[in-house]
């Protein structure tokens, strides 16, 4: 099947190097406090990386455009799913008639009340021993 496009070796190596570089960038950026922009930058970098993988490694750039359409369709339906679900979850209780429904989910689950405090290794802390810092009551 000689008519298939054969991507040059150089392209693969450059793309892989770029991907590795971008991975470094995204880790580095996450330590810089940009406030709400952090997530935006992280997602932009991830999307750039994902596009490189899709277009070059997965050969979408040279493929029949139907394949690209399929892939973009999956993203579109994902977008629909997220957007419309958020129309509910972000505006829950918006009429304000029933304040109970405003924050239905921010109640702490009951089983936390029965959990003993632990140290960073997950071992229960003996509250009377001295070698640990004092934990306040966890309620």
């Amino acid at each position: 099947m000689s008519e298939h496009h054969i991507t040059p070796l150089r392209t693969y190596l450059i793309i892989a190097a770029t991907l590795l570089f971008l991975s470094g960038v995204t880790v580095w950026v996450s330590y810089v406090d940009l406030g709400a922009l952090n997530i935006v930058v992280a997602m932009l970098v991830a999307t750039l990386k994902a596009s490189l993988v899709a277009f070059f490694f997965m050969h979408l750039l040279w493929d029949d455009k139907k394949n690209l359409t399929m892939f973009l369709m999956s993203l579109m339906f994902f977008g629909i799913f997220v957007t419309i679900t958020l129309l509910d979850t972000e505006f829950r209780g918006d009429l304000g008639l029933n304040p109970e429904t405003k924050d239905p989910i921010n109640k702490r689950a009951a089983f936390y009340d029965t959990l003993p405090l632990t140290d960073t290794h997950g071992h229960p802390v003996d509250e009377h021993s001295d070698d640990h810092h004092e934990d306040k009551d966890h309620h």
């Binding site: 999956s74 799913f81 509910d88 979850t89 429904t101 989910i105 921010n106 702490r108």
Partner: protein
Amino acid sequence: MTENTKQNYLNHPKGIMSWLLTLDHKRIGLMYLFSGILFFFLGGLIALVMRFELAAPGNDIISNDVYNNAYTLHGAIMIFLFIIPAIPGALGNILLPLMVGAKDVAFPRLNLASFYIYSFGALFAMYTIINGGVDTGWTFYTPYSTQSTSNVVPMTLGIFIIGFSSILTGLNFIATIHKMRIPGLTWYKLPLFVWALYGTSLVQITATPVLAITMVLLMLERFLGIGIFDPALGGDPVLYQHFFWFYSHPAVYIMILPAFGIISEIIPVHSRKKIWGYKFIAYSTLSIAFIGFLVWGHHMFTSGQSVFSQIVFSFITYFVGIPTGVKIFSWILTMYKGQVSFTPPMMYALSFLFLFTIGGLTGIFLGAVALDIHLHDTYFVVAHFHYVMQGGTIVAFLGGLHHWWPKSFGVMYNQTVANIAALGVFIGFNGTFFPQFLLGLRGMPRRYATYDEQFVELHSYSTFWSGILGISIFIAVMNLFWSFIKKNKVDPGSNPWGGMTLEWTHTSSPPHPHNFEEDPVLQHGPYDYDKVIVEKTYKK
């Protein structure tokens, strides 16, 4: 007597293993057909038991618990084991490659695999019945489904598995439609049934994965208490409903789109007239498939979701009416001034037009938030979706069976009996479900085994006619199968309705094992009754 010597897919190759391991799309379609009808009867039987329980108030036949199991199983069996797989799996498998002139679907092995995956999933559903049923309703709403002690896990596992079968069938059909058409068969020359299957398959591959992950999350919620859907663990049960309906609303279109396709085939053929508005019907199929993804929240108007989203959902829901209306008017205009013959398939198509229109219009009532708050979870909803699912899909399915029966099996049923049964289905159906609209308007809630005295009259009407409906369907199906026993064979060259699509003009009845004895060449469009005269040929 050429038929004894003639090779066709039914008699060649021979042996039970040649059926169980067949890669022939027609045989796989047949296996889907038989298992589908089996589950249809099982689900129908459960429905009749419920109807007879409801003939009078109080628990006369079954207890409340058994009733809860009955409506859950009726819903789950009818939807997941019959309606969703039946038309694409049975009629779609038999007809799609024939209609596009291919020798088989794109991936025959995958096709067989999806039948066995379906059977495997069905085993779990059957296990559920034997093991005492499941009582959550087919929707498995949390938090009850995370607490119920009935067989939620086997049933959801079964649905999870059947989902894969649905995905693989959809995948196969899409690849077949895109890549396996014969040269010259462009998109606008495809039979509309193929367009319908295309829309259906797109919905299948896009929506079903979300069902799969929802079922997984539900099972994990039961095993691990992951807290995503459980309010006691900081989660949100309404989110479950979003997940569930993101699949299950588009699934409504998985069920109805193939029915639209069947009707688009039956009406022009039996009216001997070119279809009116081919492109409108084709594109309305795709737009219904798309809009179907935007409106799931109209199932949740009383769930406590935000009012903002209620308004958005309600607004978008009305848009479904546009492409649906386009279809209905196109079909009616196709019949206008045609030579309409009242053959059994046409009887079902006409029933479909009437019943589906009622189903669709009452859907617009329910899409209005204010009205839905009153009608939610009443018999109005029950009547509405039965008008769509049974009056629409199942009636169209029966019509399609009658239409393609001589093609698929090379035998002809008794048309008089078929017509009487079709009439019985129509009358029995309206008798059963029309009173339920009134019951719902008067406030009778769904999913109750008993009710107040005031509803007794309408309920007993409904029960009486449900018996007629059940008998009519039974007669209709038995009449079809009787044609096997009577060996009422048609000539392999027959085209009893004068169809113009490839499966009628280029292959024998029943078809050759490899579909076409020689590569078909397209001579005319699928509905060119204005240009070409195709004779009705029906010899014994």
